[in-house]
Amino acid sequence: MTQATLLGQILDHANRADPYPLYAELRKTPVYREEDTNTYVVSNYWEIKGLLHDPRISSDARNLSPRAAGALPDQEEEESALPPTFLKLDPPEHDRLRRMTMRPFGPPETPRRVHNMRGELSKIVSDLIDDFGDREQIDLVDNFSYPFPVTVICRLLGIPREDEARFHTWADTIAASLDPDPSEDPTERRRIAQTARTDLGVYLAGLIDERRKAPGDDMLSALATEHGPDGQMSQMEVLSTAALLLIAGHETTVNLITNGMLTLLRNPDVLKRLRAEPQLAVPLVEELLRFEPPVQLLPQRTTLADIEVAGTTIPKGASLWLVLASGNRDPQRFLDPDRFDPDRKDNQHLGLGSGIHNCFGAPLARLEAQIALTELARRLDNPRLLEDPPPYRQNAVLRGPRHLNIAFDGCRP
C-alpha cells in the first residue's frame, strides 16, 4: 500500500462504511505525510491529544503556507461575506467570541440553559416518534435524526415556530452542500447553497433586529443584546456565530444519533439493556463518541513552527489532520478498542475534541443523543436493520449514514 493511496482511500466513498481498518493502517505511521499536498496526518491517541493542547497549532487557515493546499475538496461552508467563526480562529479572537457565545449558553453565567431544555427535548422526541404513526418501516435519518436537532437549534436560537419550516429547508440545503455529491453539477450546487445562505442570512438579520428591540430568553437575543466584559458582538459576528451554531449544532448530532441507533441495532444486547436501564444512556453515549464519532477528523489545523511529533518534524505552515476517530481506537490507549462497550472505564475519548476548541455544544449534543436513543429503544418494538451497512454520505469528515432504514413491529406509547 503506497502512502498516497491511504489518504485517498480514506476519502474514497467506497470505504466510508468502515474506515477503521484504514485508520489502523494509518497508525503504523504516527505522522503520515502526503507528498502532493504537504498534508501531515496524525492518528495516534497521545500524539493527537498533545497537539490539541499545543499552542504552536493554529486553527486559522491564514497561517497555512501557500504550498499546503489540503487534500479535501473545498469545504466552502459559511465562507460568504461573514467573518470567520471562532472555530477557525486562534486566541485571543477565538477566546473572546467563544466566551461571548458561552455566556448565554453555559456556566458560569447561564448554567442551566441546557438542563432546562430537557423537557422540551423529550417532547420533540416523543412527537417525532408519534409521527411514525402505524408505519412499520422508516428512514431514521429523514424521519427522526435530521428533524430533531434542527428543531432543537430553532428553539435554542429563538426561531419562531411558524418560521421553523423555512428554517429547516435552508438548513437542509446548506448541510447538503457540506457533503458534495460527485454526480451533481458543482456550479449549480454552489448556486443553490449560496442562495440558501443568503436567504438565511437575511432572515437572521431581520430576526436579530427584532430581538434587539424586544429581547426574549433565547440565545439570539442574548448574542444580539448582551453587553458583557468583552463588550458586544457586532452584527456580523452575531450572524456568523448563529450560522455556526446552526451548522455545527445539527450536522454532527444527526450523525451521532444515527450512528448510535445503527450501533445499538448491531449490538442487540446493549439495546435491550438500554430499554431496561435508561441510566445506561450516559456511558453509552460516551462510548458512542469514542466508537463512532460524528467528527472523524479535524482537517483545519496548521503549524506555527517546525514541530517534532513522534520523531518526525512537521514543518511550519503545513496542513495538519488530526484523525480523532483513529485515536479513539488506538490500542495503546484503549483496551480492545474495536469493541463497543458502554461499561468502559476511563473513557477519555477524543470524540468531542480537547483543548480550547473542544466541542462547544457538547452538553447539548450529549443530552440530545441520550434522550433520543433512550426513547427509540423504549418505544420501538423489535426494531431491526433493513440494510447493513446503510448507504453513507459522501463526507469523510462529518461521517454518517445518509439513510438508515429500519423496520419494527410497532410503536409503544
Binding site: 493542547h53 493554529s58 486566541p91 483543548g355 480550547i356
Partner: protein, 463 residues
C-alpha cells in the same frame, strides 16, 4: 521473618496505622484495601470529623454556598477500619512500634503511615490571637466560625496575601464586605508565583475593590474592653478599623508530636525517599514508617533531587496512593512518587493553575495572553530549562507546558505560539523574594550545594 513470608503475613493480618485522617489518610486507607490488605487498619485523627475537603473552606463555605459540615470527602469505596477520631497522636516509639495518643492510649503497628498535614501558622502574639474576631482558616471549625462572623462584619482584615489570604479576600468581596489586605511582600502571591505575576494579582484585587496594602506588616491587633477586635496597627503607622481579622501567614507542618521519636522530622516536614519511606535522624531510611501529603518532604528528580514538600491537593492524593502501595509491596514492586507539582486557586473570578515549581524559576516569559488582561500563561525558566508554568484563565494550555517541564525543554521557548503578544516576547526576571530571608521568624539558613560554597547564615527577623 524472611522477607517474603513477612510481607505475605503483613498483607493478610498485619496492623497498619495511619496518623492523619484527612485527604491523604483517607486515600491511603482506600488504596490499602483496594490492593488487598486484609489486616487491621486504624485511622487516627485529631479532629472529631470524618475526612473532609479543604479547598471549599476558603471559597464556597465563606460564600455561604455550602456549609462547612457538608464538605466531607466522598469515599471511593466502602472499607473496614478502626476510626480513632478526635484524639491527637502525641508520640511515636519506633523501637516498639507504638503510637501514643492524647488520651493515654497506645496503638501498635507493623506499618505506620504519617499523614498529619499542616496547621495554620497562628498569630504570634497569643493575647492578640485570642481576641474575639481573630481567625485562622485551616479546619472545618475555622471556616464555620469565620463564615458566621462575616455576616454583618463591618470590615475584614486579611493578614497575608498568599493563596488562602487572597481567596478569603475574594470571597469577602463577593459578599460585598469591605476588605483590607496587608501583605509584607510587594504584591500578593509573590512567594508562590513571583513579583511579575504578583503585580497582576495585585491589580486583580484592586479592581475588585480590595484595599490592598503591600510592603507592610501588621504590628499589633487591638481589642476593645470586651475583648473584641477593634483595629490593627500597621508598620507604616496607620491603623485599620476592622472587626474581623483572618491570619493567613502560611502553614506549619504537624511534626511536633514526633520531636523525640528519632524520626527525621522537623519544621519543614518529615524527610522521606521517593518511595515515601521516612528517614530517621541518622539519615537511614526506615522500612516500616511511611509519609504522605503536606507533611512529607521528598526528593524530586525533575528539580535536582531537592527535598520538596508540597501543600497541594493532588500531591496528597498521589503520594498517599504510592505510599499505601509501597507499604504492602515487596521492594522490587515499589513505585516512586514523581508527581509533577500542580495546584489551583480560584479568586476574583479568575482560575489560577500552576504546574512545576514556579518559585525555583529565575525568569518568566508570558508565552500566551497578556498580564493586563488577567488572562495569560507564564512560563518559568531555570538555568535555560522550563521549570514551571502558571495560567490565569488559560487552563487548557497547561498540559502542554507540563510536558515541557517533564522533558526539561529549553527556556525561553524558541517557538511562536497562538496568542503570543509583543510584550511577552522576552523573558524577564521572575522576581521572587530572596529565599534566604525569612518571612515570619528569625532563622538559620543553610545554603550552597557543594562543601566549598556551603555556609550558614543567621538572619534576624525584619521589621
Amino acid at each position: 521473618m524472611a522477607g517474603d513470608g513477612y510481607l505475605e503475613w503483613m498483607r493478610r493480618e498485619g496492623r497498619i496505622v495511619i496518623v492523619g485522617a484527612s485527604l491523604a489518610g483517607l486515600r491511603a486507607a482506600e488504596t490499602l484495601r483496594k490492593e488487598g490488605f486484609t489486616g487491621s487498619l486504624t485511622l487516627i485523627g485529631d479532629e472529631p470529623y470524618e475526612p473532609y475537603d479543604r479547598p471549599p473552606l476558603s471559597k464556597q463555605v465563606l460564600l455561604g454556598q455550602t456549609s462547612a459540615d457538608r464538605t466531607a470527602l466522598p469515599q471511593r469505596m466502602e472499607f473496614d477500619a478502626h476510626w480513632r477520631l478526635g484524639v491527637a497522636a502525641t508520640g511515636l516509639d519506633m523501637a516498639n512500634r507504638r503510637v501514643r495518643l492524647a488520651d493515654g492510649d497506645e496503638v501498635e503497628y507493623d506499618r505506620l503511615l504519617i499523614a498529619t498535614g499542616v496547621h495554620a501558622r497562628p498569630w504570634p502574639h497569643e493575647a492578640e490571637a485570642d481576641l474575639d474576631g481573630v481567625f485562622v482558616l485551616r479546619t472545618r471549625d475555622d471556616a464555620a466560625g469565620l463564615q458566621r462572623r462575616l455576616v454583618g462584619a463591618r470590615r475584614v482584615l486579611v493578614i497575608g496575601a498568599g493563596f488562602t489570604g487572597s481567596e478569603i479576600a475574594s470571597a469577602c468581596r463577593e459578599r460585598g464586605l469591605p476588605v483590607t489586605v496587608v501583605e509584607r511582600a510587594a504584591a500578593p502571591l509573590v512567594g508562590a508565583l513571583g513579583g511579575v505575576v504578583g503585580q497582576a494579582a495585585a491589580e486583580l484585587q484592586r479592581e475588585h475593590g480590595v484595599d490592598l496594602r503591600c510592603g507592610l506588616m501588621v504590628t499589633g491587633l487591638e481589642g476593645d474592653s470586651a475583648g473584641r477586635l477593634r483595629c490593627a496597627h500597621l508598620s507604616d503607622g496607620t491603623t485599620v478599623e476592622a472587626d474581623v481579622a483572618v491570619v493567613s501567614l502560611g502553614a506549619t507542618r504537624n511534626t511536633a508530636w514526633l520531636a523525640d521519636s528519632g524520626l527525621g522530622a522537623g519544621p519543614r516536614g518529615i524527610a522521606c525517599d521517593a518511595g515515601c519511606r521516612a528517614f530517621d535522624v541518622r539519615g537511614i531510611v526506615t522500612d516500616d514508617v511511611f509519609v504522605a501529603g503536606d507533611v512529607a518532604r521528598s526528593p524530586h528528580a525533575l528539580f535536582g533531587y531537592q527535598f520538596l514538600s508540597l501543600e497541594h491537593w493532588g500531591n496528597a492524593v498521589a503520594q498517599a496512593e504510592i505510599a499505601a502501595h509501597n507499604m504492602i509491596s515487596a521492594s522490587s514492586d515499589r513505585r516512586p512518587h514523581l508527581w509533577v507539582p500542580a495546584f489551583w486557586s480560584s479568586q476574583f473570578g479568575v482560575s489560577i493553575k500552576s504546574v512545576g515549581v514556579p518559585s525555583l524559576g529565575e525568569e518568566i516569559l508570558i508565552a500566551q495572553g497578556a498580564l493586563a488582561e488577567h488572562r495569560f500563561t507564564g512560563v518559568y525558566g531555570y538555568q535555560g530549562r522550563v521549570i514551571a508554568a502558571v495560567t490565569f484563565d488559560q487552563t487548557k494550555w497547561l498540559e502542554f507546558y507540563q510536558r515541557q517541564i517533564e522533558t526539561a525543554a529549553p527556556f525561553p521557548p524558541p517557538f511562536p505560539t497562538v496568542d503570543r503578544r509583543p510584550e511577552g516576547l522576552r523573558p524577564v526576571p521572575a522576581d521572587f523574594p530572596d529565599p534566604s530571608l525569612p518571612t515570619h521568624a528569625p532563622s538559620v539558613t543553610l545554603s550552597g550545594y557543594s562543601p566549598t560554597d556551603r555556609r550558614i547564615t543567621f538572619t534576624p527577623v525584619r521589621a
